[in-house]
Amino acid sequence: MIGITIILALREIRRHVMRSFLTTLGIIIGVAAVVTMVTLGNGATAAISSQISSLGSNLLTVRPGQGFGRGGGAASPPPFEEVDVDAVRKQVAGVLSVAPQTSIAATAIYEAQNWSTTVTGTTNDYFQASHLKLSAGRIFSDAEVDSGKSVCVVGSTVITNLFKGGDPVGKTFRLKAISCQIIGVLETRGAAGFGPDQDDQVVMPIKTVMRRLTGNREVRAFQVGVDPAYDTTAVSASIAALLRERRKIGPNADDDFNIFDSKQLADTLSGTTKTLTLLLGAVATVSLIVGGIGIMNIMLVSVTERTREIGIRLAVGAVQSEVLMQFLVEAVALSCLGGLLGLGLALVATLAISPLMGIPFVFDLQINLLAFMFSAAIGILFGYFPARRAASLNPIDALSHE
C-alpha cells in the first residue's frame, strides 16, 4: 500500500509541477541555506586551522612587551639576552628546542636588482619550530652558526625579485655592507596566514646578524618548541616564572614580556568559527521551518480544492487511514524533493562560493543527511494537520462539494 501511495503522491506532484515547485521553494531555500552555511563554516574552520598549524604546533613565541591589546609600559621593555635563551633551554622541562631571533630591515642587492626585505638572525631550530621547509639547498651547519659565517637561506619572494631565473644556490648578493652566500631557498608558503610574510625574508645565523648588521647582542624574540608530551600551558607558565625571576619583576608587577601560544589561538579561533557556524545554521533552520509552514499552507488549500476527489476516494472504499496516508505521503514527498533540490543547490553554491572566499570545499555528509532528514520530518510535521483534515471529511459532504 505504501508503494502505491508513493506512486499516487508522485503522480499528483507531477500533475502540478509549477505549484509543487513553488510549494517546496521554502524547503529548497531552507535546506540550501543550512547546508551552505555549515559547509562554508566548516571550510572556514579548516582554513583557519591549517593557517594556524602552519605557524607550528606546540610552539610558544616569546617577545618583550606586554601582549595584544594591553597598553604598553612607560619605557619599552628590554629585549632578551642570549643567556635568557640558554636558561630557558636548560632549565625548563618540556622544552625541545629554542630558536632565538633578532631581525633588521635591509636592502638586498644583486647586480642591477634590489629588494627591501627583513633579515632574521636565528639558529637551525627556527626552521623546525616554524615549520619552514627548503625547496633547494641546505640549512646552516653547526660550524656556520657557531662561527657566524655570512651564509643565508632566502625566502621565495626575495629570490623572485632579485634573481631572474637560474639556480640561486651558491650565488652571492649584498646585504647592507656585507656580502652573503645563498645556501638554501625556503619553500613558498603563500601570503595567507598570521604574522609577517615568511616568504619575504633572509635567514642568517644569529651571530652573523648581531656582529655585522645590528651591532648589538639583543635577542628580539625566541621561539620555543614544546615536547608534545607536555602541556604548552604549563610550559608557558614555567618559562614566564623563569623570565620574571631573570628580569627581576616584582611579585605584584605585570609581565614585561608575552608568550604567544599558537594552540591557544587555534582553539579560540576555531571555537569562534564553530559558534558562528552554529548561529548561521540556526538562522537558516528558521527559514526551513518557515518553508514547512508554506507546505502546510498549500496542503490545506489542496485539501479544500480536492474535497470532491477525496469524496470519490471515500465512496469507492478508501478508509480514513488511506486518505490520511495519501496526503501525508504527498507532503513528505514534496518536502523530500525540496530537500534534495536544496542539497543540490547547496552543493552548487558552496562549490561556487568557496574559491571566492579562499576557503577549501569540505563536503560534510552528516549535515547533508541531517538537513535532508529534517526536511522529511518537516513534511510529516506540517503535512499531518492537512492530511488529518482530508481524512476526516464526510464522504457525502465531500461529494457534493462544489
Binding site: 476516494r313 465512496a315 469507492v316 472504499g317 478508509v319 464522504p395
Partner: protein, 247 residues
Amino acid sequence: MNAPAPEPIIALRGVTRTFGSGETVFQALKGIDLDVMPGEFVAVMGASGSGKSTMMNIVGCLDVPTSGSFRFKGFEVGNLGRDQRAMLRRRYLGFVFQGFNLLARTTALENVELPLIYRRDDASSRRIASMAALEKVGLADWSGHTPSELSGGQQQRVAIARAIVTQPEVLLADEPTGNLDSERSREIMALLSSLNRDAGISIMMVTHEPDMAAFAHTIIHFKDGMVEKREKNLAIANGNAPTDATD
C-alpha cells in the same frame, strides 16, 4: 416467511434519518420500508427534498439511519463504523453520479483503476480488469484520455466502468443521465440495462425522468420522506424494453 423466497440484497425497515436538533430539526426519512432483490433494477423517483438522496446515501453505506434497520445481504449495517462501511463499499458497491466525478487530469484507465488500488490488487491485474471494464462500456480505445478530452457521455461511461470494475453486487446511480442529452441518456440507460441483465448487477437509480425510469423493473415514488407507491414496470415485465435499438 416462506422458505424458498429469495432474500433481498437490500432491506430497509422503519428507517428514519433526522438532521439537526432542537428547533431546526429536519426529518428527511420518516420510516421507510424497502426491499431490493438480487438482480433487480429499481428506479427511485420523487421531488427534490422527498428523501430519495438521503435513502441512497444510507443504502450506499455513506450514511447510517437515525433509527430503523438497514440490512445488506442480511447483515445489519446501521451500527458499523466508518471504515467498516468503507470496506463494504469497496467490496459490494459501485457508484455512478450525476456529475460523473472522475479525477481530473487523470486518464480513463487510472480513473477506472482507482477502486482496485484500495483493494490492493497488483498493477498487472488492475490493468487487465480496468481494460476489461472499459471494453464493456465501449471505451477501450480511449483508455489514455483524460476526462477533459472526453464527451459527457464518454465520461459517464468511464464512471460506469469504474463502478463495475470491482464486480459489485449493487450499482447505485444518482441521476446518471441528469447532465446528458436524451440520446446520450438512452445509451447510458441501455448500458446499465445490459449490465443488469448480463452481469446480474442489482441497480438502484435515482431519476427525475420517467423515460429513464422506464428502463427499470420497479419504480418507487418518494414523497415527504415516505415511500408513496411502488409499481412494477409492466413493459419490462412483458419483455418490451424501451428503445433497445440504440444499443
